[in-house]
Symmetry: C2
Subunit: 666 residues, 2 copies
């Protein structure tokens, strides 16, 4: 095309220019400058002047530093823009690779790949699944290769804590433990080291990067707590240019994926480390590099994905969760993985409830049929199935085997009842029902339904990915938006405090509620997920999710989470009604009293800081109000812990003790 | 018709039979017995047997006592059923009175009366108001005369406390204070006595019954605390047969209504007594005799009705509030009264918010125009209007006069701005915006919107008439239904505790919240209304409303309210965010620790008690759970009071004191 159309062809290493001028990975100003420099729409000098005026107007509110960086980027662009001389005929022998590899499944090759290649319009309707159900686990075929740099693992420095893996938004850095014999035939650059921990005794382990799926966000390196003894600047994970690593690490990653999965039943999944030895069943989504939501979603997929049924509210998570043509929700080698669907913005909790009601009914029906058919099936098997303890991974695994045996038996039976039982037998294995969505759903548009589902007492788990703003539609204020933050429809800073969804849900007394922030306390995050899922009733997890809408460097997203907790703005807690029966306080406050100011946290984020430019007086007023509100609210949480403390009948106890003393004295 | 059709004609004093057999005012069983006794559908003995079987089946769940009463009623029916001998031509000279009196307004005579007379179908469309707005204050023309007995006032015994008036569901018993000269021309049975209280010095007062509007519920007599010294069985209000009183009391009532209203600005309206000297602007609705909702609605109309704008959710209150053909919402002599409309079940809070936003915009626009036109209008008047203090009744009255003057001036001006100002000038007088509805609206169907309105911080007042069940549609469970109560969709007793709407709203910290029960503490009820309305932000009042759906004798409705509070089930409290700025605790718990058991309260109501018949084991289990839940919840409220206590920086204060002591010691 270039030759045919006699195009002038220019190139610029815009990412290098951006990096050198402090713009990070933002190249929009640079590319705009290129356009005006080349197009001749305006005389070059005049164009540069206009661009700088536009920069001032657009970014002035974000501070002088941002403006200065953009100016520097504009100036550096012109020096780095090169024209490429094009020959008058094609000389290259390179060809565009296929959209997906040859060994991809038929549907992926015939449908998914064509959409990836921008040929979706040419697909006949008959190519689409008849019932609208799309296969999951297809993101893995879309190798995007968008990272300039990817993490590299240093096994000698690694503490094997799992922190790099748990924070990765794209499941692009993983851990596996395996017996040494598995290393036979490993690619020569494949790294391995003895696995630490009693459960892995005598085994090897690897931390492996997916080089073509990694977005290069660097969050894993930030999260890594282990520093090299040789070079204290270098951690157990460090960034390196992707290009030279692409081919060898691709081979390593393929080898890694083929290693056997560790037995779920033998892992302590309620820990950061244990959870990260579980296979992610949510991988390589199209979420932003450094996304604050997807680490939670991925964790959920690791812990419960092999038996999860998920309703997803409209929002970022419905986009990256089921963005045609590919689906990040994945499957185990046995073909088990989350069933996922996006309903509407206004009914997702109810949508999740529908799954629950259906499963409960199926299970009840299966139970009735089992009892009726007990003689034909075998009393022992029926008893075992009906009395199975599925509170552990091992218990669930055992039940799966029983149900497989049952289904084999049923296939040999011809009665209508046997057929009915076969059709609902899967409901006898414990399922994990989730409603997932953002704050726009949970605090606002879907709140009426969410409240109703929480009130009904059924076992539905709710995960709120709280970015405190309508992220997907461009940053509009929600009831989760904090006091003082700037958002669309709150251009002068929100004057009202954030809705305390957790406190409202706790008022029921019968709802499991946790407020979490992975960047502040990843262990508490994992515990909350495990407890919420185990609780036989409604559960609500409110997860602090940093977001590009916060005006932060996403590399440091987890640090912002930490600061939000340290200043007391985002108290971590777990309210577990199951503890009441045990005579324990249901409410556990998992974070300490504020030790930094709200300002220190808030003014590290442009959503707050920009108001100090546009309206300094109001900014100061709102900051003061927000600081007061944070302290008052934290105090209330401390008092709530006391309020929920089990009531000890002290007067009676005292009277009894006195009576005893009196009796003894006689 | 009787003569023409040669009908056999029977009569029974069914109310007497009901009363004598302990059935109260329930005559359905008696009338059913009459039907079978007369119709000959079945042989009489067999019919009686069948009726008794049906009674056992229908009321067995409500206890043996209820069944026995019904059996007695059946037996007594036959002895009291008399055939009336009908002459073969009409001999009576009596005529059916007109549906409304001759002096009713034209619209009432031409439209309302015809609908009352069952001739609505014959009205032409052109008779209807063009914009759909129906005139208010029309219930007064529909004299129903349904009471067998009405209250009689004994001025010598009366303490003038206002308790009879405040509890009256139909505004059929009222108080007025007036100068003695007004008594000129009073009907000869009109009663009067010197008014007590400093503000009424030298004046007379009357407690007057509306004999034809009273439903005879007797709640006023129950509420009266004053006993006659001569006859301790008799209170300052006692019931007497209506018939002989109808004509004289009708005259007395008409005379009473014509007496001048006491100056609102001179009353202490924040008290039970003071509020009951205010004219009710909600009267003679079609609510059940003894209704637990309407006393609150009537109180609202007395306190704020002359400047209220009300959105009403679907439910009982939308039926009795605007039941064609008549409207209980009324007007003062000056033509001021509530503007009222029923929107939908699912959007009433938002509907109320719309009123608020409109008023605020009108007020803002009026302010701008006032400033622009200040020279033409007069700087002084403009200043006075814009800086008016409308926090008192007197202040509002003064502003009304200023706005009247302004409008007179504007009428003489011809500029478009003057016309615009004239059209929005009324918004300069403080309005009172209310969203009213039941628990089905506030806890369930409209909760998403209610929560949103509470979160927005605008000055909308919300009154929840909490009957704990969908009363209007027949008693279905709502999220307000308490643990252990039987309701439709909760036939085995609700297993989950009532949603704590107040606690959830308090979580915002910026919403005025009150939980009230007039029968337990009427003074707190009045205070809550006044504070809620005064608070410049969203307010929520949750009002315990006893209901026929509770399975109680409505005569004792207020006693049930009291028991609900005494057992700790319904804590009374007020949460006023305005107190925070004053350094006071925003949360005031207005009721004491439980002093009776939950059982004592609950088992006085059939909604709870019937479960002890149908499922005694489950009843016992739920009762225990409910009792525990009540105690735990009350404890939480007590602790919440501590949690909201203003934070005193004790450590610092202590350190400073120590430093001072140390300095002094040097």
């Amino acid at each position: 095309d270039i030759i045919d159309k006699k195009l002038k062809f220019y190139a610029i290493n815009a990412y290098r220019v951006a990096k050198e001028t402090g713009m990070g990975a933002r190249i929009n100003t640079i590319m705009q400058t290129c356009f005006f420099a080349i197009s001749g729409v305006l005389p070059r000098d005049q164009a540069i002047e206009k661009i700088k005026e536009a920069v001032q107007a657009t970014y002035g509110g974000k501070g002088e530093e941002v403006v200065a960086k953009n100016f520097a980027a504009v100036d550096a662009t012109l020096a780095n823009l090169n024209e490429i001389n094009v020959p008058d005929k094609v000389t290259s022998t390179k060809k565009r690779p296929p959209a997906v590899p040859e060994h991809a499944p038929e549907f992926v090759k015939n449908v998914t790949a064509r959409i990836i290649a921008n040929e979706g319009d040419q697909l006949p309707v008959s190519a689409m699944p008849v019932d609208g159900t799309f296969p999951t686990d297809t993101c893995r075929w879309e190798k995007r290769n968008i990272a300039l740099e990817i993490p590299v693992w240093d096994p000698d420095t690694c503490a094997q804590c799992g922190k790099c893996a748990i924070v990765c938004p794209h499941a692009a850095i993983r851990m596996k433990a395996y017996s040494e014999s598995c290393l036979k035939g490993a690619p020569k650059t494949f790294k391995s080291t003895p696995a630490k921990g009693a459960e892995f005794k005598g085994m090897m382990m690897t931390v492996q990067v997916a080089p073509e799926d990694c977005t290069g966000c660097g969050v894993c390196v930030e999260a890594c707590p282990a520093k090299s003894k040789k070079d204290p600047q270098r951690k157990a994970i460090y960034m390196a240019t992707q290009a030279p690593l692409r081919v060898p690490e691709r081979e390593n990653y393929e080898f890694f994926l083929d290693l056997p999965e560790f037995d779920r039943g033998k892992l302590n999944i309620a820990t950061v480390k244990g959870s990260q030895y579980l296979q992610p069943l949510f991988e390589y989504s199209g979420a932003c590099a450094g996304c604050g939501e997807t680490p939670y979603v991925k964790l959920l997929s690791q812990l419960f994905g092999d038996r999860a049924i998920i309703g997803n509210a409209t929002g970022c998570s419905s986009i990256y969760g089921g963005n045609l043509p590919t689906t990040p929700w994945a499957q185990t080698a046995e073909g088990r993985g989350p069933v996922w669907s996006n309903s509407l913005f206004e009914d997702n909790a109810e949508f999740g409830l529908g799954f629950r009601l259906t499963l409960d009914k199926h299970k009840e029906f299966a139970g009735e049929l089992l009892t009726r058919l007990a003689k034909d099936i075998g009393e022992n098997l029926v008893d075992e199935i009906l009395s199975a303890d599925q509170s552990t991974e091992a218990g669930i695994g055992a039940q799966r085997e029983r149900v497989a045996t049952l289904k084999q038996k049923l296939e040999k039976m011809s009665s209508p009842e046997a057929k009915n039982l076969h059709s609902v037998a899967n409901a006898l294995v414990k399922k994990s029902v989730w409603a997932i969505g953002g704050d726009g759903w949970a605090y606002d548009i879907g709140y009426g339904g969410l409240d109703h589902v929480l009130a009904l007492g059924r076992d539905v788990n709710v995960l709120v990915l709280d970015t405190e703003v309508y992220s997907n539609t461009g940053g509009q204020m929600s009831k989760a938006t904090p006091l003082g933050a700037v958002a669309k429809f709150a251009a002068a800073g929100k004057p009202i405090a954030k809705k305390d969804l957790g406190m409202m849900a706790m008022a029921y007394g019968s709802v499991y509620v946790a407020q979490i922030a992975m960047g502040a306390n990843d262990a508490q995050t994992v515990k909350a997920f495990v407890e919420a899922e185990a609780y036989d009733g409604p559960s609500l997890i409110i997860a602090y999710s940093h977001c590009i809408a916060h005006g932060i460097d996403m590399l440091h997203g987890m640090s912002h989470q930490k600061a939000a907790v340290q200043c007391g703005y985002w108290p971590l807690y777990r309210f577990n009604p199951a503890r009441i029966a045990e005579g324990k306080n249901p409410l556990q406050l998992d974070s300490r009293a504020p030790k930094i100011s709200f300002e220190e946290y808030a003014y590290s984020e442009n959503r707050y800081k920009m108001l100090t430019k546009s309206n300094p007086d109001r900014a100061a007023k709102l900051l003061k109000k927000a600081q007061e509100s944070v302290l008052a609210r934290f105090h209330q949480y401390e008092e709530l812990v006391k309020a929920y403390a089990p009531v000890v009948e002290e007067p009676k106890a005292k009277a009894a003790a006195e009576a005893e003393t009196a009796a003894a004295a006689r």
